[in-house]
Symmetry: D3
Subunit: 133 residues, 6 copies
Amino acid sequence: MKSERFERGSKKINELMEGADQKTIKGLGKIAPDLGNYVLEFIFGDLYSRPGLDLKTKQMLTISILATLGNAKPQLAYHINCGLNIGISREEIIDIMTHISGYAGFPAALNGVSTAKEVFAERDKEDLETKPS
Amino acid sequence: MKSERFERGSKKINELMEGADQKTIKGLGKIAPDLGNYVLEFIFGDLYSRPGLDLKTKQMLTISILATLGNAKPQLAYHINCGLNIGISREEIIDIMTHISGYAGFPAALNGVSTAKEVFAERDKEDLETKPS
Amino acid sequence: MKSERFERGSKKINELMEGADQKTIKGLGKIAPDLGNYVLEFIFGDLYSRPGLDLKTKQMLTISILATLGNAKPQLAYHINCGLNIGISREEIIDIMTHISGYAGFPAALNGVSTAKEVFAERDKEDLETKPS
Amino acid sequence: MKSERFERGSKKINELMEGADQKTIKGLGKIAPDLGNYVLEFIFGDLYSRPGLDLKTKQMLTISILATLGNAKPQLAYHINCGLNIGISREEIIDIMTHISGYAGFPAALNGVSTAKEVFAERDKEDLETKPS
Amino acid sequence: MKSERFERGSKKINELMEGADQKTIKGLGKIAPDLGNYVLEFIFGDLYSRPGLDLKTKQMLTISILATLGNAKPQLAYHINCGLNIGISREEIIDIMTHISGYAGFPAALNGVSTAKEVFAERDKEDLETKPS
Amino acid sequence: MKSERFERGSKKINELMEGADQKTIKGLGKIAPDLGNYVLEFIFGDLYSRPGLDLKTKQMLTISILATLGNAKPQLAYHINCGLNIGISREEIIDIMTHISGYAGFPAALNGVSTAKEVFAERDKEDLETKPS
């Protein structure tokens, strides 16, 4: 039986991306089941479910942290997608990357834009949102 | 004669902290005058003055980026102070650090809290804001 | 009422350093209570309490990760202390730092040795262990 | 109308790689126009155009910084190409990576060599320079 | 003539992976011969050949350092392979990545698992070890 | 008996700072003797003694790498001192930090300037060089 935190995390991750709980479990459950549980329990059941900052702000922070780290491309693409799903605009994603240039340097900013570009192109193909005019 | 970007940056940095333009010039102007100019022109005249994200959001991003980098303590303390000056609450600062724990790890989060604690204590001594009850 | 994970984490952290649960709560409980809970629940109640690697191995990994990060000095000092408490020798701590030189570079290794030196000196003063001859 | 700094940056970036200003504008202009301008204005119009260090020294520094960061592969490849264009030899590129091994660790050095190798192979195909005997 | 350290390093690297000395020399010898020598002499002839920690412990440290750095994927894959060759189990590799999540953050842990997964799959294809049931 | 590489490294480190070999051995020899040897043998006996880049260029690279890493302050101060000893000017040190701002971000550049300032002040007190007018 899954814990209350796991259930709360599952619900929260699905707010950001439909069906993401199943995808996480499928991807990590076999090879690293504890780590898969921690993603749902700690990241989404604790950090994302605690009060304080609203969901959009948390998501903008996550994107800026991941772009700053610079070696977390799969996670950055994932969270850009989540951000777009909950109403962060493409322009805001690019604004975050642009702001990063001064603090984490231009390479981090440029690679962040490059990841965003790939996510945008993927979504355009899948017609998930109205293309920016 | 100072450029338009420099003047715009001076005005913007002073919104975040009164008299910060003079302090920057005093601190960097003699030893690294070009770098001092770039701080005012590029960071505050360009990044902070461009449209898009509002000032509070930009400041929260700056704080999360600096705490993620983990080796930018003087800048983090400075920008926590700026953030408090423009209406980010102490609780929100701590919320940012807490959120960071999952992505940049607990040491980055704990050291961010530690820097925030020092800034809060300094401000309590200087009576710059109402203490949280 | 504290969760079962919290209780398990308290017990585990105290295995590494007597009374460390109270010190964590005292240090973080007021300013960042959720983060304080996560330290006990996630780091010690989950990661340190899960089966698999034995305690000494986990502690050597923690020390190598913190020395590699290079910007986690308070946490590194803390975990060197914990390591010595559970039977890792001073020589092994230095062996870890020496090994790091090839992968994270000499500055990380040298700063790790420097932190270890401070911890060793502190413990010598407090007479916590037999000094190496 | 483009600023004087933009024009200066365009000219400078083209010294390093013919037509690079147009390529930058094409790549970033649509998705992140402000960031594209900053690349030309700040990186090339300010940093690369200021007096002090000569162009070759600046370029060697850029290469060492990017290889040290370790997560800036596209920028590293770009700047290795620029370096070769202005007369840095392949041997000097490899000397930089070799020197890095002691400070940023062997992985950074080895990945730097690997990026250099790809750039060299690409240039050999395009016959851009005399192959080393 | 190769130095004594080189010979010692060759022997040691081959304990971790059969024929790895020749592969290193082949890969680096032409383009970066000094760096290739340092890999064998310093990393394997010095660090891996010095007394103190046993080989398995050194290898677990190397894996945790590389996963923490986060931008050393080829080296991480290489050393996961070496670890499996000398008797570290797949479960232990995953345990290391899981432990990392708390200190270097979840992205480092998740990317470490992802690299491990690729190594495991490659080995399954080559039938190098018994598949975990 | 010390190896040839050790003797060569001792001589080289003393070119950069008089008596630095004895200081290194004194600082590391007791607590981490192997690491102390590797500093002299590998960093100064191999990297700094190999042909290719001249000493001044190597030293400028070392300074830029250490400032980029951002968590190597004692080593950065040390190598700024070495650089000044062999004829790199204070202005060139500041030029390096200024150049870094675009690639590793402003915090790395500002903290590099701050370390340089401390080294310059220390040297002014000790009257080691003519103060810049």
